[in-house]
């Protein structure tokens, strides 16, 4: 426990340092924050244009789709802001800067995650949170089911972070091709923006039982919206989010450690 607290403490200290560094250029910082708010808003514009043409997508109405988009978006954006930099591992290995991290008295995972900590990405969190707030205002979810919302966002953060860690660990093997990991992290972000019912049944089963992205917003979202599962999967899966998140997190931690042990520097 003490070890985890120590890691959190160094993370916060280092993050504060990066924020102070970025705040030296306030105009640029504000512009980039606002910019990321707008850029991610484009995804929503796409959803809005789709709903100009149709009343429901995959059997879901606009506020329901916005709810799914918002919950996944908040999880994804927070995970990206806090831990997304882990996927820069390949660059650090190639440049040799990863070796410097190994000799410092702070966990290399924390150093990787916080490196160039971009507070500007909070623009994206705000955007998703705004969408979620608008959706909730229209949906009138009763409080008996609303307790699931904070829990699903939390599980979503853990799931996305675990995926990023996997992506980072993969780069111990494939330093040349960081984009492979993007297919799963950003691909996962894209996938969860829409109700999974628009995708094919095979794909939905794959993201339920293999890469558990369905637990970011789909299964718990069905519970919050009180909807039957279009694929007829068991009801208890809706509460399996924390189990899926923990399992994936443990697997990711194992992969990261295995990669770290195997690491032999680039040499000269």
């Amino acid at each position: 426990m003490g070890e985890v607290l120590g890691m959190a403490r160094s993370y916060v200290l280092l993050a504060a340092t990066w924020i102070r560094a970025a705040a030296q250029y306030p105009a640029s910082m504000i512009m980039i924050t606002a910019g990321s708010f707008v850029v991610t808003g484009l995804d929503l514009a796409a959803i809005a244009v789709i709903f100009v043409h149709t009343g429901s997508l995959g059997g879901f109405t606009l506020p329901e789709v916005m709810f799914l988009y918002g919950t996944a978006g908040v999880s994804f954006a927070l995970a990206d802001m806090l831990f997304g930099n882990v996927d820069k591992l390949g660059q650090h290995v190639r440049a040799g800067t990863f070796d410097t991290m190994l000799i410092r008295p702070v966990s290399p995972f924390v150093q990787m995650a916080v490196d160039r900590f971009a507070f500007q990405r909070v623009g994206r969190v705000l955007q998703a949170a705004t969408v979620l707030a608008i959706a909730l205002a229209q949906l009138h979810v009763p409080w008996q089911r609303a307790w699931m919302i904070p829990l699903m966002v939390l599980c979503g953060i853990v799931l996305f972070t675990a995926l990023w860690t996997f992506g980072g660990a993969l780069q111990f093997l494939l330093t040349e091709a960081p984009e492979i990991a993007n297919a799963f992290t950003y691909g996962g972000g894209q996938l969860t923006q829409y109700p999974l019912s628009v995708y094919g049944g095979e794909l939905v089963r794959a993201v339920t039982f293999i890469v558990p992205l369905a637990f970011v917003n789909w299964q718990p979202g069905l519970y919050v919206l009180d909807r039957p599962d279009p694929l007829g999967l068991p009801y208890w899966l809706r509460f399996a989010g924390p189990v899926a998140a923990l399992t994936l997190a443990c697997a990711a931690a194992w992969a990261w450690r295995a990669g770290l042990r195997r690491y032999r520097s680039t040499g000269s």
Binding site: A46, H53, L57, I180
Partner: protein, 253 residues
């Protein structure tokens, strides 16, 4: 040719890029299929056309740098190396264009063909009926790359005046992804807004070549539209290069 060989070095990166393009293509195809099942025949496309459109747009990402990739030139402006480039006995603009066309040709082979083939295997895509369809598509594609270059060249030269190009790059990313037809086909955009988006240069990068491929547009008009924007952007680029040359002289080289 040099541009082609220079980019051919990064084979693993290109392969990873193709894989990512394909996965995103599959995800977006499902969304479009759901929309077209709800509204068959929307915007004059059928489901097969919509799927084809989706994989074509994924295919355009690499060659046309839809995500607003900066030219190396922007970096050279920041470091001042551009002064050397301006001294060379070849036009800076044409030199950079040649390099960029080489890059696009290479990325077309490794990053555009695989997603479309996999899309064809998974969902089935339509192909132009005649050889002339392929030929027009190729012309349209090249014009699209030139338009994309024209925009990115202006962006790079703007660094001469504003030095920090990150804000502009972000703006360019927004404009390009949305107004090119990358996010959704532009003919889904409602009313006057749709007409407006189809008149902007960005539509010449994705929407127009895709429509030429699908045979959904008058070919001569489409190519003339692209050629018009290519000419306007290249001319603007030439003007900016001239004033940049003067600026460098004023600063004392």
């Amino acid at each position: 040719m040099f541009g082609f060989r220079r980019h051919a070095v990064y084979r693993a990166a290109a392969f990873a890029g193709a894989l990512t393009n394909t996965i995103f293509g599959v995800l977006r195809a499902y969304v479009l299929i759901a929309l077209w099942h709800a509204r068959p025949g929307l915007a004059g496309y059928d489901v097969a056309d919509a799927v084809t459109f989706c994989f074509l747009t994924q295919a355009f990402i690499g060659p046309m740098q839809v995500f607003g990739g900066a030219l190396d030139l922007a970096g050279r402006v920041r470091t001042g190396d551009v002064a050397l480039d301006l001294l060379r006995p070849a036009s800076l603009q044409l030199w950079t264009l040649a390099d960029d066309l080489g890059r696009a040709a290479y990325l077309f082979i490794v990053r555009s063909v695989p997603p479309v083939l996999i899309g064809a295997a998974l969902f089935g895509v339509t192909f132009p009926a005649h050889a002339s369809g392929w030929a027009w598509f190729l012309v349209s594609m090249i014009l699209g790359v030139v338009v994309s270059f024209g925009l990115r060249y202006l962006l790079a030269m703007a660094t001469c005046w504003i030095v920090d190009d990150r804000g502009l790059l972000q703006l360019s990313l927004v404009m390009t992804t949305f107004f090119s037809g990358m996010v959704l086909p532009l003919n889904l955009m409602p009313g006057w807004f749709g007409t407006f988006t189809r008149a902007l240069p960005w539509s010449a990068m994705v929407q127009v070549p895709a429509d030429v491929y699908l045979g959904k547009t008058d070919v001569a008009g489409a190519l003339a539209f692209q050629a018009m924007w290519a000419a306007v952007l290249l001319a603007a680029g030439a003007l900016v290069t001239r004033s940049a040359r003067r600026k460098v002289v004023i600063q004392g080289g």
